[in-house]
């Protein structure tokens, strides 16, 4: 009798996944090996019991679910945070208080808290300085919530906005985002948090690094980074999400399948076309190198380990309330994990406001609102 097959081969045989000679070999062994037969019998019994034990809900439950789903996808996105607001807020924060909207005279609502942005308009004018904010080549694009117009600004190395282009906005905010992320397969976390908007030709500001600013290092940057799965790199995406959620924080796993090219853009094996584009979007403006360091615009920030979660806890987070008082954050992956229910708790407590608070302060705020 041959030696017992590897357990994974035995299971593959049981599942009918082996073919030809390989299947014949295992079959021949199993017929003469009581131990392997016993394993298969036990496994079969367990799995049958597992399948049979499932209680399927009533058809009415599914009809209700279908209605809920279709109502959700048909509902207008009134409550959705305008895509550009967090990005604009990120730039505002990065500018350390430079009030872009106020400078252009278009701020329509007064400041309530630390920094206020309106959901109406935020403008970047040529010559506006965003020191410490977007890197050279960064593209800031905004789409106005009323779908009338948007603008794009290209920034010089010193953070000065070199060129501002008015853009025709899309007819629908949702459609615009989807077009910008054509290969998005799965947003494991809050899709309301927009990712970087921009083409694959340059580094982009966005929910990840953009929101936190370059000085915030890998922590918050990663939360933005991992808020999307890279199509074609699902394993990578999963591992990144895993790392951000503090499950493994295994640098080797987190960088598995990822490389950055000379310009710092994220690429991966098999990455083609839209995959590359999405990778860039996902990464915002950071990159992960083969030696496990995280870089932004060529500046090494830190290695992936230790767990970015812990570091981020003492870092500022950005919370944005839209005109309906609905809170959102580019750091929602982190916040959802640490402060479940925070959105419900804070909903309606502020309007059209962007807060920058440390996690400790945020916790106090949420406790004050009675969520924890």
């Amino acid at each position: 009798m041959n030696a017992c097959p590897d357990p994974s081969r035995l299971m593959a045989y049981m599942d009918g996944e082996l073919r030809g000679a390989e299947a014949a070999d295992v079959r021949s062994h199993v017929e003469s090996c009581a131990a392997c037969r016993r394993i298969i019998e036990k496994q079969t019994l367990i799995e049958k019991s597992y399948r049979d034990s499932f209680e399927t809900p009533s058809d009415e439950s599914f009809r209700l679910m279908e209605r809920r789903i279709m109502t959700s996808v048909r509902a207008p996105s009134r409550k959705r945070l305008p895509a550009f607001v967090p990005i604009a807020a990120a730039l505002l924060i990065a500018a350390a208080g430079v009030r872009l909207a106020g400078r252009s005279g278009l701020l329509e609502r007064p400041s309530v808290e630390t920094i206020t942005v309106t959901s109406e308009r935020d403008r970047v004018e040529p010559g506006d300085s965003i020191s410490g904010g977007p890197p050279a080549g960064a593209v800031f694009e905004s789409i106005s919530p009323d779908s009338v117009a948007g603008q794009a600004a290209h920034f010089a190395e010193d953070g000065t906005a070199l060129q501002v282009q008015e853009q025709q906005a899309a007819s629908s905010e949702v459609e615009q985002e989807d077009e910008e992320h054509p290969a998005m397969l799965l947003p494991p976390e809050d899709q309301d948090t927009p990712l970087a908007i921009g083409g694959s030709g340059g580094l982009t500001t966005g929910a990840g690094g953009g929101a936190a600013g370059q000085s915030q290092a890998a922590g918050a940057g990663f939360y933005g980074l991992v808020s999307q799965t890279v199509p074609g790199h699902e394993e990578t995406g999963y591992n990144l999400a895993d790392a951000a959620a503090g499950r493994t924080c295994d640098a080797e796993q987190a960088t598995e399948g990822i490389a950055s090219d000379d310009s710092g853009l994220l690429t991966g094996p098999g990455a083609e076309g839209d995959v590359c584009g999405s990778a860039v979007d996902v990464l915002a403006r950071g990159s992960v190198s083969a030696d496990r360091t995280v870089s932004t615009c060529g500046t090494q920030l830190e290695t992936l380990a230790p767990c970015p979660f812990e570091e981020a806890f003492s870092s500022p987070v950005l919370i944005i309330f839209d005109s309906d008082g609905e809170p959102a954050s580019p750091d929602s992956v982190f916040l959802d994990s640490c402060f479940p229910g925070w959105k419900d708790s804070l909903a309606g407590s502020m309007l059209d406001t962007a807060l920058v608070v440390t996690c400790e302060e945020f916790q106090d705020l949420v406790v004050e609102q009675g969520a924890l």
Binding site: A12, L45, S53, F54, M70, H181, L186, Y238, P340
Partner: protein
């Protein structure tokens, strides 16, 4: 019953589904609605197997389709729709499970740690009923790490082929084999006492 649905849905003419997907991709919500009707039971079942509560499973089911609708224009037709939707459901379930685990880590440890072990052993010492066996298996599966649990659920409960699991989770075929083997081994060991009794 659900398996019958699975089989029937797989027997739908490919052209029909390709047409539906193309229409949904172009923004046809009725076509998307048909895809919801066709797949929601399967999605719910995956979510229910991955999440600890029924409420979470329904939330994941709804969220899966809402997100899918938003992402539909970018759907890569090289993938099969059902593997794509499974992937969304699986990852959302993992996210939610992780969130729940962090919220009630102590409760989780109490339920699935020492007490959980004790429960299995106690049950093994008595005459095991079919429901006790099913309960022990369910707990054993819930204790699997998310990567192992997702492979286990997709194979054992949904009866996907290894290549379909690989496509759904975006992992290599060899990874499917090794994870599945480990998952089954862990589950088998957890309920072994019970089976022997």
């Amino acid at each position: 019953m659900i398996l019958l649905d699975v089989i029937l849905s797989m027997m739908e003419p490919a052209d029909d589904e390709a047409d539906l997907v193309a229409k949904a991709k172009a923004g046809d919500r009725d076509a998307f609605g048909e895809l919801v009707r066709r797949y929601q039971k399967r999605v719910y079942r995956v979510a229910r197997r991955m999440c600890r509560t029924d409420e979470d499973a329904w939330d994941v089911t709804q969220d899966t389709f809402v997100r899918a609708m938003k992402a539909m224009p970018g759907f890569d037709t090289r993938y099969r729709f059902f593997t794509w939707i499974y992937r969304i459901a699986t990852n959302l379930s993992i996210n939610l499970s992780e969130k729940r685990r962090r919220r009630s880590e102590v409760e989780f440890d109490e339920e699935y740690g020492a007490e959980g072990e004790q429960c299995v052993e106690d049950t093994a010492a008595s005459q095991a009923s079919a429901s006790e066996l099913a309960d022990a298996i369910r707990k054993a599966v819930e204790r699997l790490s998310p990567p192992l649990r997702s492979v286990f659920v997709l194979r054992v409960d949904q009866e996907l082929s290894y290549s379909e699991i690989a496509e759904t989770l975006g992992i290599a075929l060899g990874t499917v084999m090794s994870r599945l083997s480990r998952a089954r081994s862990e589950v088998r060991k957890s309920v072994e006492h019970l089976m022997e009794s």
